[in-house]
Symmetry: C2
Subunit: 412 residues, 2 copies
Amino acid sequence: MPVLVMKFGGTSVATLDRIRRAAKRVGVEVSKGYDVIVIVSAMAGKTNELVGYVNETSPLYDAREYDAVVSSGENVTAGLMALTLQEMDVPARSWQGWQVPLITTSAHSAARIEDIPTDNINTKFAEGMRVAVVAGFQGISPDGRITTLGRGGSDTTAVAFAAAFEAERCDIYTDVDGVYTTDPRIASKARKLDKIAFEEMLELASLGAKVLQTRSVELAMRYNVKLRVLSSFEEQSDDAGTLVCAEEEIMESNVVSGIAYSRDEAKMTLVSVADRPGIAAAIFGPLSDAGVNVDMIIQNIAEEGRTDMTFSCPTDQVKRAEKALLDARTNGEINYHDLIADTDVAKISAVGIGMRSQSGVAAKMFKTLSDEGVNIKVIATSEIKISVLVDRKYMELAVQALHDVFELDKTA
Amino acid sequence: MPVLVMKFGGTSVATLDRIRRAAKRVGVEVSKGYDVIVIVSAMAGKTNELVGYVNETSPLYDAREYDAVVSSGENVTAGLMALTLQEMDVPARSWQGWQVPLITTSAHSAARIEDIPTDNINTKFAEGMRVAVVAGFQGISPDGRITTLGRGGSDTTAVAFAAAFEAERCDIYTDVDGVYTTDPRIASKARKLDKIAFEEMLELASLGAKVLQTRSVELAMRYNVKLRVLSSFEEQSDDAGTLVCAEEEIMESNVVSGIAYSRDEAKMTLVSVADRPGIAAAIFGPLSDAGVNVDMIIQNIAEEGRTDMTFSCPTDQVKRAEKALLDARTNGEINYHDLIADTDVAKISAVGIGMRSQSGVAAKMFKTLSDEGVNIKVIATSEIKISVLVDRKYMELAVQALHDVFELDKTA
C-alpha cells in the first residue's frame, strides 16, 4: 500500500481532545488506503518544561543527559496517539526513536539523521498494522544513547521518514493553514499559496517565516519529498494547505512568490577601514569565530586606500560582533575609524523562482520603495531573492507596497 | 569497589531541590568508596498524570502502549539525577531500562524481571563512572517493547539490581524513616524497628503497611539482599532507618514484632450452605474467577448437613463477590439460605517470627481483646501471624491494647 507521512506539531497534540482530532485525520487517510507513518511532537509546553528543568539543574549540561530528558515528551504523545487510533479500531502502535531505530550522529542536541532502516515498521505494515506512530525529534547514537535533532526536529524526522519509506507525500499539520505570500497580520491582502518551490520555501524559512524547520526543507529538496503544510484546526480537503515541491511541478507562478521580513536584523558599519588584499577575511574571520551570523555584506570605496564595510547580523549578536571587531583592532588585525551599529532597521525580501527568467524585478522593487519615500540602506541579491535593509518604521509600508506591486493577491 | 544500590521514591525526587538533596546523599556514599546504582521513581504525581491520560484516552488500553507512556516519568528523573551528580563532580550517567537492558517477561504493566546483564554498567564503573542512575519501574520485553513492573515497581527494580550486582546493601529512601511496630498515628508508643525479618516484612507489607512493594521483599528474601528503609528527609547516620534482613541476622527480637491493621476488609457470611464434599471449591472457585481476593476463611457446622461459611475480602470487592455467589446459586452450583456482608469490620494482625518458638501468643492476644470488651468475629493464623476481624469501632483500641501487652514500645 502507498505510504503517507503525517506530522503533528505540539499545538496539534496539546490536549487529549486535539490528539483525538488528529487521530481522526489519520483515520481518513487510512480509509483511503494509505499505510500511515505519524510523527508526533510533545504536547505543547512539555519540551520547554523539560528544558527548563535541565537548565536549572545544570547550566552547562551534559548534552547526552539533556537529550535523555527532553526526548521524553514525544514518547508520551506517541503512546497516546497509538491508543487513540486503536480506540477508533485503526491498528496502530508507537515507536520510540531507538525502537525504529532512527540512527543519528553522536552530535547530541543537534544530531543529524544517518539511517532509518525500514524493516521493522514494514514488517508490521505487512502484518496488518496501518499506522506507525513515531516519536519525533529523537534518535539513537551509534553507542546506544538517545539523541535529539534540535528544536523543530520533528519536521526533519517526518521528511526523513517520507524519504526512507518513499512516501507519496509528507503532510505537516501545524497551527497555520499554509504558506502565505506575506504575513497576513501586516498585509491584509496576503494570500495562501497553493504551491511553493523548495528553493523559495528555503529562502522564506531562513528569512523568518517559521512554518517549517529549514533542515526539513533542505532534506525534502534533496530527496524530492512532496511536503504539504496545512492546519490541524480546520476541515481539510485533498488540496488544502500549501504544497512545497520541486519547481517543475509548479506550472505557472508569479515572478515573486512572497515578501518576507525580519525585525531582528541589525546593520553594522565599519567606517574607513584600511583597505588591502585580504581585508574581508580579516574582518569576517573573527566574526565567524565569535559565532556571529553575518547575512548581507557590502563594501563602498570611501577614499583612496580606505573603504567602508557594512554588514547585517541578528540584533542579539551585535554585542558579540562589536567585541570581536574591537579585539581584532586591538590585535592589529584590522584598522578602522569607527564602528556604527544601527539596530533600528528591518530586512525586506522578495522571493521567487520566476526572477531567474524575468529581468527588471530589482528595478521595480527599488522604484516602488523610492515612490513610497523609503530609503534603502543595504541591498543584497541572490538568484531568487532580493533583500533590502530599511528603517524599521517603514517595514509595514514596504511590505504592503511590494505585495501590491507584484500583485501577490492575484494568482498567476 | 563494593556496590551500593540506593532507591529514591517519587516524593524524594518530587522537585529539583529534592533531587539535589538525594544526590548529596549519593555523593556521601560515593565518597565512602562505593560504586553506586541509583534507582529513581518519577517525580511525585507524574505517573498518576500519565496514567490519567491513558485511562481517559482508552479505558481498555493496550498495555504495551500504557507501558510506553507511563514509563516516561522515570526517564526524566534519571537524566536530571545524573546531571545533578555531574554538577557535584560525581561521574554519573543515566540508563533507561532498555539501555541496561533490564529484560522482563512480556506481561505488560505487570512484567517480571528475567535478567539484568551487568556488563554495560560494570564496564562504565571500570572506566571511572561512579554512579549509574537507572530509571526504575521499567524494562524491555523479549520483542523489544517497553514494559513496566506494576505500581511500586521501582522497589523491585532496586532489589533486582542489588541481587544482580551483589550489592552490599539496598537502601530504599522514602518519606517515612523506617518500619514501625505499628502505625504511630494510632498508637503513640509505636517504635521504629532497627531490624525486621523478611518474613515479618512480607506479612506487614501485605497487611497494608505500605512501605515496600511486597514483590521487592520476596525478591530480597530469595537473594538475601539486605534492604534498608530510611527517610530522604532527615540527616542519616549509618544505622538509620530499618534493616530488613534474614532472620539469622536478628540476634534478639520480641515475640511479636508489629501490629498491623486494615480498614478495607469486609466479612461475608454464607448462611446455611448445603454441605457436601467439594463445597469449598464450589464456593471459592467462582469467587476466584470473579477476581475476588479472599483472605480469611472459616467454616462452622451449623446443623446436620448444612454449614455456615465465612470469609473476608477487600471492601471494594464485596459487590463482585455477591454477584459471583448469586450466579453460582442460580446455576445450582451451590445452595445457601442467606448471604450477609459486614463491611463495618477491621482486621488486626500480630506478626512476629518469635511466635514460632513461643507458645501462648494467640491466647494472650485473645485474652487482651476480651479484657477490653472487643468481640472477635473471625480468627486466622499462620506460622508467624495471628489475624482477627473485629468491629471497626474497636480497631484503635485493639491496636493499642495489643501494642501494650506485647511490649512493643520496648526493645528486646
